[in-house]
């Protein structure tokens, strides 16, 4: 058995409420981190995973304090050290990569300088040694031509490259323990897969122990040896990654894994009811009791202990874990009613191009846009009534841009958008009539941003009701109550402010606000990506039910291919504002595919340590689409030369109904893709 580098013993961390009550955020955490091991800590937001990670480097957030227990790093209790002693350890022996570290680089300092700063702070190297080390570090994180890289500013790097620099800075002090807080959240699918690959190699090469905090079981599956699952401030399950993800013997983990949409399954995943209890509001029995499908009366009053099951090398906090062992791990998912979509066009995007280019004064005067290489170009999509069409692609592929122009928030440069067969939608919001405005509603990614923090739920929902239907008084109130019921919330939510709601509840309010207008089309921009997995499944389920009930059409933007597969009827794949592939969703996910679709599907991280992502293309980010030729030429692993660079590829219809835009013939693609 390997030696422990860190031992956490019975650690509880809490705060004092305004009434003077002591409230725990972490409760009786006991665990060890072994040398050279990568441990994943998973849990939904508010489960205490970041607090635990911070405690591992001896840092307790302002307002919190340790109520009991210790955190031993090489038998030294970090929580009792003073600042000076901690400085000796932080950055040198224990380093941390905080969330969004890449974006947090100082914008006006060169990369090389920032790494040198880290070296000066955390090592005793001389100037020349430091210079050598900078190149070494940049090499280690696999950034091309380190000499040139060192002279760049952060904004001259892509998101993935910035994250690599952050990793390099954390490695500067040769740490023995590296803590990573959501290191790949917010990166593109392909970039994420590459960064994870890098972290795994670093762990192998240097023997550094890593603690990897994430809500993303897909990422955890790729890098971790062992997993700790947290719920409401407690460890509920801990064991080897394979056991945890393949034979989850705790009901929470079991439900969590079932609520993740997977590429291999059609339809919506099961959702888990309810939400995690807030600190200070945990009942007397098992903290998962309210949401558990396996509970009995014993769970209600007795708190289960963490029990070690030696044949699985797993610790579990549940009375009834043996029931779960017997359940076959085979997963079934509710098939959503794949009803046949009748061809009844509701929205038609014809040759749409959109440009963000600044117009000159004369052009502005003539109301003309001149831009030979617009952000979005040649979009042809027609959408049928009652259909869910998804737009997928990496960040910057123009998904939101297209949604905005459908909503009238952006002018189109060329082409037109037609609604209900004959009505041409104006690109100018002010020129649209109230009926058209009502017909098309938007739901945004982050409910924290899309709900006015100073409005109550009642005020929020009354905006569209007053505007479009002129409701007042008791009629208004009853409509609001009806809407709340529609999104499975009670009328007592009316007087709440957004800050008094959980993430899932907030998004439900945003959904209710969109439905308040009784729209024909709802544009959903990454509506689940700010939510926890268990909540995501519930919101997807809600959207699906409302659609079945009301026959609404969805245009659904997402970067998550598994989510898209679960909810959509048709998928359009975008790269750099150009369409690559479009077709029924079950076919888009099958070969033959456009080479870009292939790259995207390959990079999807499944919550299964035995399914590895296929990293085919480089994770470079292009700033602008190429002027001529195929939009994907810069990264295409199947590129066939000058033809791709000079000629716009033609549309080809595959035998299963999806259209692919590539110079390689469908049959040829099929052969090439079946080989790997």
């Amino acid at each position: 058995m390997k030696t422990n580098i860190q031992e956490i013993k019975d650690l509880s961390i809490g705060f004092k409420s305004q009434k003077g009550k002591q409230i725990s955020i972490l409760r009786n955490i006991t665990t060890n981190i072994r040398k050279g091991e990568t441990v994943g800590i998973v849990g939904e937001s508010g489960s205490g995973k970041s607090t635990l990670a911070l405690a591992m480097m001896g840092y307790i957030k302002h307002g919190l304090f340790t109520t009991r227990g210790e955190c031993l790093f090489k038998s030294q209790n970090l929580l009792s050290l003073n600042n000076k002693e901690l400085e000796e350890i932080r950055g040198r022996k224990i380093a941390m990569i905080p969330q969004n570290a890449g974006q947090a680089l100082t914008p006006n300092l060169k990369i090389g300088y920032q790494i040198e700063e880290a070296l000066r702070l955390h090592t005793d190297y001389s100037k020349t040694e430091r210079e050598k080390k900078i190149s070494e570090l940049l090499n280690q994180v696999r950034l091309p031509s380190p000499k040139i890289m060192a002279l760049r500013y952060p904004h001259e790097l892509s998101g993935g490259q910035q994250q690599r620099v952050a990793v390099a800075m954390a490695l500067a002090g040769n740490p023995e323990l590296l803590l990573l807080d959501e290191p790949t959240t917010g990166l593109d699918v392909t970039t994420q897969a590459h960064v994870l690959e890098l972290l795994k190699d670093i762990a192998k090469d240097t023997g550094t122990s890593m603690v990897y905090v994430s809500h993303d079981l897909g990422a955890i599956a790729q890098v971790c040896d062992r997993v700790i699952v947290m719920y409401a401030g407690e460890i509920v399950l801990e064991g080897p990654v394979r056991k945890i993800l393949k034979e989850p013997i705790h009901p929470y983990t079991y439900g969590l894994l079932k609520s993740i949409p997977k590429l291999s399954l059609a339809g919506l995943p099961d959702s888990m009811p309810g939400s995690q209890p807030q600190p200070g509001n945990i009942g007397s029995g098992c903290s998962f009791y309210d949401r558990c499908n396996f509970s009995n009366d014993k769970c209600k009053v007795n708190v289960p202990k963490l029990e070690y099951i030696s044949e699985m090398d797993t610790s579990v906090r549940c009375f009834n874990h043996s029931e779960l062992i017997s359940i076959t791990s085979e997963q079934k998912s509710k098939n959503h009613l794949q009803k046949e979509i009748t061809i009844d066009e509701i929205l038609d995007l014809k040759d749409v191009s959109i440009s963000y280019a600044k117009q000159g004064i004369i052009d502005q005067f003539l109301n003309k846009v001149t831009d030979t290489n617009p952000t979005v170009k040649d979009i042809n999509i027609n959408i049928n009534k009652g259909e869910t069409i998804a737009l997928v692609g990496e960040s910057g592929s123009g998904k939101s841009t297209i949604l905005k122009s459908i909503a009238g928030l952006l002018k189109t440069k060329d082409g037109y958008i037609k609604f209900d067969k004959e009505k041409l939608l104006s690109g100018d919001l002010k020129k649209r009539n109230s009926e058209d405005l009502r017909s098309i509603q938007l739901i945004f990614q982050n409910p924290d941003e899309s709900l006015n923090p100073n409005h109550t739920v009642e005020q929020i929902l009354s905006q569209p009701l007053k505007l479009y239907f002129g409701l007042t008084g008791s009629k208004l109130k009853s409509s609001i109550a009806e809407l709340l019921e529609k999104v499975r919330l009670g009328a007592f939510y009316m007087s709440r402010y957004p800050r008094q709601l959980s993430g899932g509840e907030k998004q439900r309010i945003a959904v209710a606000r969109a439905f308040a207008a009784r729209p024909d089309i709802i544009l959903c921009d990454e509506v689940t990506s700010a939510l926890d997995v268990s909540v995501q499944a519930a919101v997807l389920d809600l959207l699906q039910k409302l659609k079945e009930e009301l026959g609404t059409t969805y245009v659904f933007v997402s970067h998550d291919l598994a989510v898209v597969k679960a909810i959509s009827d048709r998928v359009a794949v975008l790269y750099q504002g150009r369409l690559c592939e479009i077709g029924p969703s079950k076919n888009v996910y099958q070969f033959p595919s456009h080479p870009y679709t292939e790259v995207l599907i390959g990079a999807v991280l499944e919550p299964d340590p035995d399914i590895k992502p296929k990293l085919v293309a480089e994770d470079i980010v292009e700033e602008k689409p190429p002027e001529i030729g195929c939009s994907f030429q810069g990264r295409c692993p199947r590129i066939i030369g000058d033809k791709c660079r000079n000629e716009t590829p033609p549309w080809q219809i595959g035998d299963n109904g999806n259209a692919i835009r590539c110079h390689i013939g469908i049959e040829e693609l099929k052969i090439q893709q079946s080989q790997c």
Partner: protein, 298 residues
Amino acid sequence: MENSKNIFNENPKSSLAKVLDIITTMASKPSGFIGLAILIFHVILAISSPWFAPYDYKAINPSLMLNAPSSEFWFGTDSLGRDVFTRTILGGRTALTITFFGSIIALLWGGLLGIFCGLVGGRIDDIVMRIVDAFLSIPWILAMLLIVSLLGTTTEVLIPALGFFYGKGIVRVARAATHDVIAKDFIVSAKARGHSNLSIIWNEILPNVRDAILVEGAMRWSWMLLGFSSLSFLGFGVSPPTPDWGLMISNARGLMSFAWWAVIAPIVGLSSLIIGINLTADAFAKALGIDRSTKAPV
């Protein structure tokens, strides 16, 4: 149903309860308590002083010229033999009234213009901000002097003139605060629904920028008070014999070496009021959570 037995027991509060809440929070810190106490003391004094002023503020008595403080004249008498105590307790009334209404005018026009600029953006915003900047670069005291010498020193001139000059700073704050919320999706959402600009300003923006603007307004109030007193000091504020701190300081400053009492009392009055407003505005900002928050090191 999600979360029916809910975790948040915070009940919606009436506006009065909210105001009381804020005042309690302000008074819970020593600096806020002191500030509030000074401000309240001054306001009560200004309202009630005419009823208990011991002497007539304009009664000139050459035989009592420059008497030192005594049991009869607590703060002594000035060069015209008027009671300094009487004149001091009355001396804040004009300044407080004029600057209070001036601040409200500054808040109104500065706040609305700032929000408008932040909302429309683009060229109009550019032009308006240029003009505001141009005005900011004129020494305000010169401009004020010009205005009062042309239009007189009546209240009807002073209030809007002060309101105008001190509103410029509020334009910038309101515009910046609006910029912070304008990019948020709830504004985009309101725009996409087709609400009018006015409705967006009133319903979506104002509740989110109100706090920042009010705090700025409170700060401006104390500056305006200083500005107004300077005008009086220069002889362009209130006209004699109205008791006013600025004017009293100006009249008595030449005699400071031997009749210090005539100058000390109005100085204490003026500076304590300014400090009081400043501390209150600070505490107000903190109670509303506008304070620059301390960030975690990681």
